[in-house]
């Protein structure tokens, strides 16, 4: 094996394993075989005469109509399951089908649990995890006070991504919408979508549309002048006039007819708190204090210091109400939460409690409580590195989704083979993975370039220098490699004196021409292993994008071979990646 490696180098992109399952699956795609399979008549399953009459009718039908099952049928299956246990030996086929259906049912349940879907329609909104309860109650209080008691509020929710900010907010709003449909309108603005000017325009349009739906007037040509008409200045003035009626607080009489609460949801509210003029926030927070119409502003952001980015006068108007999304505090809590996530719990009255559910809950409990089980190890690992329940959740979904039977599901949670390949897959774009996918020549060039930059004072390399280094290194290598004659080892001694003669049997490494290497060089650049000096990365802000678009200052003017590049990986790091068996391993040290 080592010989082959020496001769060809490690095979490129050979890391993928061939899966026997996949081969079988692929065969099913074969049309010829499909035809044969189709031609085999499907025999309806015969049942023993002992079983119920009506079930006999139900069963064959159920084979393909797993979707149509309803509660009654579920009950049936439960009964049959019990019966099947009695006649276990006789009814193998029947049992598998039955289990399939039940398992699919169970799988669906589990998946919807993982996705935080409501298990039934009329179930009231609940937080997905207990540790979010206080936040939910807080939101519930603020929204109810705004919508029902017609108070004005403002608050900002702070939490990292995937910390269920919008989830809770939307859940609560939907809940209130059921009962207080015409008591409030929701205006949503997102800092990633709207600039301040767009936000004003969008605010006007949303306000108009929502008012129209709430009053059931679809066309509005009677009050000809709509809010969103006219120039931005006019629109803004109109919005202020409508919502910010502080100027004519003439009578308390108009207070007693209930006004519609205007609920503003700001996603990424920190983007509106930019360095320039925080007009929108200033006005909206001002409204909270002055407006006769109840206004409730809820912002979400990831920035902990959002309050400091607010201008002084805006800050003074803001209610200073910050809701921090809770983080998971310790490993035990994380473990409890993952249990909460995976367990399926019904209220006592629920009838869907199948046998799988019980088994599953028991299984999860066991797995998580034991210290050594792969699941609890995985949970621990996630806690230490990501501390994100959402990451944990998404990694489990493929596991559940791909399981074909309950045993397989349980198996995949105990063996964890799939999860390992999943996390491997997550790392597929890491530098080691990239380096491993390189061809021999590419690796050689990368190493050469890295060496050059390491040697040079301001750590960069260019194509010419790299190529020079490459040829030099290859020459050095070749000098060390004894060129072997195929016939006899005796000849080897002579080879050095006149290498031209035996060049056909030469074992030296070819020194590729500059033109060929240029191609390799470019592919290294596209793989992002080499970057041009001073190149600006992700266009995270409008300003960065602007600079990037004007980025032509020196890079492009210099000829290709002299452009300065910097490798993303250091030589030392390469040393840990390049296998020791590789012939270039020696290059990884200067």
């Amino acid at each position: 094996m080592d010989n082959i490696d020496l001769e060809f180098g490690p095979l490129r992109k050979s890391t993928q394993k061939i899966d026997s399952d996949k081969i079988l699956q692929n065969l099913t795609n074969d049309p010829a075989q499909n035809n044969i399979l189709k031609s085999i008549p499907l025999i309806p399953i015969r049942r023993n005469s002992q079983s119920n009459q009506d079930e006999e009718i139900v069963k064959p039908l159920m084979k393909n109509t797993s979707d149509k099952r309803k509660g009654i049928e579920d009950l049936d299956t439960h009964e049959t399951l019990k019966k099947i246990k009695l006649f276990n030996t006789k009814q193998n086929t029947h049992e598998t089908i039955d289990e399939d259906i039940q398992f699919n049912d169970f799988k669906k349940l589990l998946l919807s649990k993982l996705n935080h879907k409501k298990l039934s329609e009329n179930e009231p909104f609940k937080e997905p995890f207990k540790f979010l309860k206080n936040i939910r109650l807080e939101l519930d209080r603020i929204l109810k006070q705004a919508i029902i008691q017609k108070e004005s509020h403002s608050c900002i929710m702070i939490g990292q991504r995937n910390s269920y900010k919008s989830f809770l907010l939307n859940g609560e709003i939907n809940e209130l919408y059921k009962n207080y449909k015409d008591q409030f309108i929701t205006i949503r603005l997102n800092g990633f979508i709207h600039t301040e000017k767009d936000a004003i325009k969008s605010l006007a349009i949303q306000l108009e549309k929502q008012l129209a739906t709430i009053h059931n007037t679809y066309r509005d040509d009677l009050s000809t002048d709509s809010i969103s008409d006219g120039s931005l200045t006019e629109v803004f003035e109109k919005i202020l006039r409508i919502l910010d009626t502080s100027t004519n607080m003439n009578d308390n009489a108009s207070m007693n007819k209930s006004k519609i609460t205007v609920l503003f949801i700001f996603d990424e509210i920190d983007t509106f708190a930019g360095p320039v003029r925080q007009t929108l926030l200033y006005n909206l927070f001002d409204m909270v204090e002055h407006s006769r119409i109840p206004v409730c502003i809820i912002g979400t952001t990831t920035k902990l210091n959002v309050i400091e980015t607010l201008e002084k006068r805006v800050k003074s108007r803001f209610s200073q109400r910050l809701i921090y999304m809770p983080q998971i505090e310790n490993a035990n809590e994380f473990s409890d939460i993952s249990k909460e996530l995976l367990e399926i719990k019904f209220k006592d009255s629920d009838t869907r409690d199948g046998i799988f559910v019980q088994n599953w809950n028991k299984f999860i409990n066991e797995q998580l409580s034991s210290f050594d089980s792969p699941l609890s190890k995985y949970v621990k690992e996630n806690y230490e590195t990501f501390n994100s329940i959402v990451y944990f959740k998404t990694s489990l979904i493929p596991l559940v989704q791909s399981a074909k039977s309950y045993d397989e599901l349980q198996n995949s949670f105990t063996v964890f083979e799939k999860l390992k390949s999943y996390s491997k897959n997550q790392l597929a774009d890491s530098y080691p993975a990239k380096v491993k996918s390189l061809s021999d020549l590419e690796l050689a060039i990368l190493l050469a370039s890295t060496r050059v930059s390491e040697k040079s004072r301001d750590s960069f390399s260019n194509f010419n220098l790299t190529y020079a280094e490459f040829t030099e290194m290859i020459k050095g290598l070749n000098a060390k490699i004894p060129t072997l004659a195929p016939e006899s080892p005796v000849k080897a001694t002579n080879d050095k004196s006149k290498p031209q003669k035996v060049i056909n049997f030469d074992n030296t490494i070819k020194i590729w021409s500059k033109k060929d290497v240029k191609n390799v060089w470019e592919s290294l650049i596209t793989l992002d292993l080499l970057t041009e000096k001073g190149d600006i990365g992700m266009r995270e802000t409008a300003m960065a994008a602007f600079y990037a678009s004007n980025y032509q200052f020196h890079g492009t003017k210099i000829t290709f071979d002299l452009r300065q590049y910097q490798p993303q990986i250091t030589l030392q790091e390469l040393r840990s990646i390049v296998p020791k068996s590789s012939m270039y391993y020696s290059w990884t040290a200067l």
Partner: protein, 928 residues
Amino acid sequence: MAATLKDLEGWKIIMRDENNNIIDENKRRSRRRNENITIDITRDSDGVSFTRGDSIITKDKNISADLGSYSVYYIHDIRLNTMTSVVELIAMTYLRWFEINPFNYYSYFEKSTFDNTKSIDYYKDRFNEEVDRNQLYLTAELKEISLKEFTQLANIRPVSDWKDELETKVINRDFSVRFLCDPDSTNFIEIDFEKLRNKMLTQEPKAAVQYFKKISIGGVDAVKGKQLATKSKADPVKEVSIREIKVESDSENNLSLSEEEEEDDGDDNDYHSDYEENKGAEDVEGIEDENTPSELSDSENDCANSDEKLISEEEYGESKKSTRTTKKRKISEVKEPKSSKKKIKATTPQYRTAKIKRFTKKNVDRARKKYTPFSKRFKNISDIPDLTKYADFNQSNLDLQMANYEAKLTAPTNSKVVETIFSKIKKQLYSSHGREKLIDNNDFDAYIPGRGKDFATIYLSLYTAIEAGTASTVYIAGTPGVGKTMTVREVIKELQSSMYQEELPEFQYVEINGLKMVKPTDSYEVLWNKISGERLTWGAAMESLEFYFNKVPKQKKRAVVVLLDELDALVTKAQDIMYNFFNWTTYSEAKLIVIAVANTMDLPERHLGNKVSSRIGFTRIMFTGYTHEELINIINSKLQGLNDTYFYVDSTNGNAVLMNSADAENGETLKMSSNIKKVKLRMSNDAIEITARKVASVSGDARRALKVCKRAAEIAEVAYMAKHGFKYDGSLVKADSDDDNDDNFADDKDVIALRKLKGVDNGVSNNEEEDDSVQTVHISHIMKALNEIVNTYNVEYIRKLPFSARLFLYAFLSLIRKTTFQEQEIGSIVDEIKLLADVNGNNKYISAVKNTLYQRENDRPDNNGDNSNSSTGQIRILSWNYIINNLIEAGVMSKQTMRHERLSTLKLNISIEDIKKALDFDETLKNL
């Protein structure tokens, strides 16, 4: 409204011409618009028929069954074949008796005996007994009605019928209408319904609605209004001068367009009233328009003169073609022979949507007018009319518009608002609420606490300036929330009241807030709009203003007081806005008083240099932060009438009603039923004091002090609500066993310490809390609220980060310590982390950590301590990108955006101490 022919099934549309002949469908086409058509809609089943001016009853599900589930509408217009539907019914809404607000009702009808201290319930009950349930109140609220909902015709009987006992009346069918009012049941106006109806029927619908709105706004009786209109027209001097100006501007602007105008007319009839341009009024009728300045820019009203008839567009175009000299004659000529045609044009509805409207030629014309500054319209200064009446301009239109929006923002169904005992207090603590209550107080210092002196200074300088008709400037600076704007507003209020008593000459107050407009230049538009009512582009507006302040003679205009709030937001690169505003005040003819409000004292110098600051030789007032005594006064004055008061609380839903002070004193407990409890609300003096002291020590921001109090009330409310199991939607829940709210404030160490400090006896406050009848906002609540505001979450956040992120920060910190640079390259952090992992020996624990972080296979134990030959190792720790992104998004650090990862630098945005403190919690990192 019936959108399709199918909806119309069961109904017949009958059209009649003036002579009541039925027009047949086919014939109609040929006759085109040559008739004054009335449209009847007849129901096939019972032959019920209605037309314009009738009142109908429709089903309305929103109204409960015991009130009949119906609404009554006045059919205002019936349109055929509009853009979206075959038939459209446009109706004005009648308010029925229960839609009237008893409070308003009595405040209008029994002004003398009205006493607003009495509770709403009192009036509600009284109203229910006294009101005439068959009386309707007509409002200007227009609505489209669906034919489906039609049930029957309503019979509006004259008032005389109602007085006559003998007349038989059918309940829910016969009604009387005696009043007009606004949709929110305010502003009652007595009318003669029959007269009004006839008047409106003679007019084209659009005109009628305008007319109607005029009445309902102006508060003039239908008949009186007419007289008023004619009276005002008989002001020949004014009219002539105006006309001359207009014709001039017309010939300038419109001649080139006049030809197209004529082609367009008819189609171009713009029935969409456009408030900004005040178009609605001019298209319609010249009744009351004569004294509004819109004439200045429009020639139609000129032509309309005293005629009651409508002006058609054709006439408009034609009159423009005529030269200046022949104009008058032509108008009079045109009127007579074409009168019939005019009428037709007007009555044939040609509704266009706003979109189409936008591109018509007339708009081009109108747009052009927007660019013509006021100054270009006069050849001679003596031509300038008296402009003192300008201020009243389009106020009515604005009011209408506002009423319209307000109506929209009213919920279609009324929900019962449940108030807790804390609701009132919270409302009161908003900085703008509750000013009215204090107004009787004559002592300045109690009236606006802590600002008495400043108030006097501003008041005096404004008073003298207004009285003398000179220009003046006042510059006010101060940090947010120290009452700058509030004080100015109070001064203005005071001055306005002296103006109404005719102690002072009339002046106009304009408020311009730099942050309440999109761009700084809008301030010109706003100011000019307030002064003249015109809407010009900012360039034109600026020129107009320049002209107005510089050239228009003093006696022809009123004084203008401009409040420039948030002045720094008005700074532009060219600095023209501040320069202009201050420059205008230097003109001798300017009756302009500028009050500039900003956060910093040196703003004019810093941004404007000497050329402006030399113009600001004015009074400068610095508002300092409130002291704690002043803050206590402010809070107390806000809570006046609420602190130490009693509420009736309905123990079934937590609804609370404020008890009258008289009741409380008498200890009257008669009204109480079994489930009503008496609860006293109190905000303890200590609590108020601690708030004031804390806030005064930081910023002296009154807004913040009030917010702390409000938040404390909220916290107390949560505890109170949970304790009694009240829910915010007015339902009662038995208290859950799980402890949702940590209302156990005694745990708070700070609080205990503070209580000891303040010498507050714990026992006493606890006893009070035990007693349900007193609800107190304690120091503990205040402290909690203060902590929420003061504390940052940084330490907490970092403490709860995953281990990898903490390791990252640890490496970052140790690098900073080593290199003393605040910025670090990512590459060195990577190396540092690796170093940390490698240096710390090779015990089982550390290598397990390493294997996890770098995802190495741990099945091949390595003797040399060198893992480099295990081929699966990573060079970054596992959640590298995730934690970096998280930290950046949380604002803990910021990253330079470089393509090259290792060379990008990171910088911490929060203090190193915070991070250190947080990392100290971690035992593992301590040992590294």
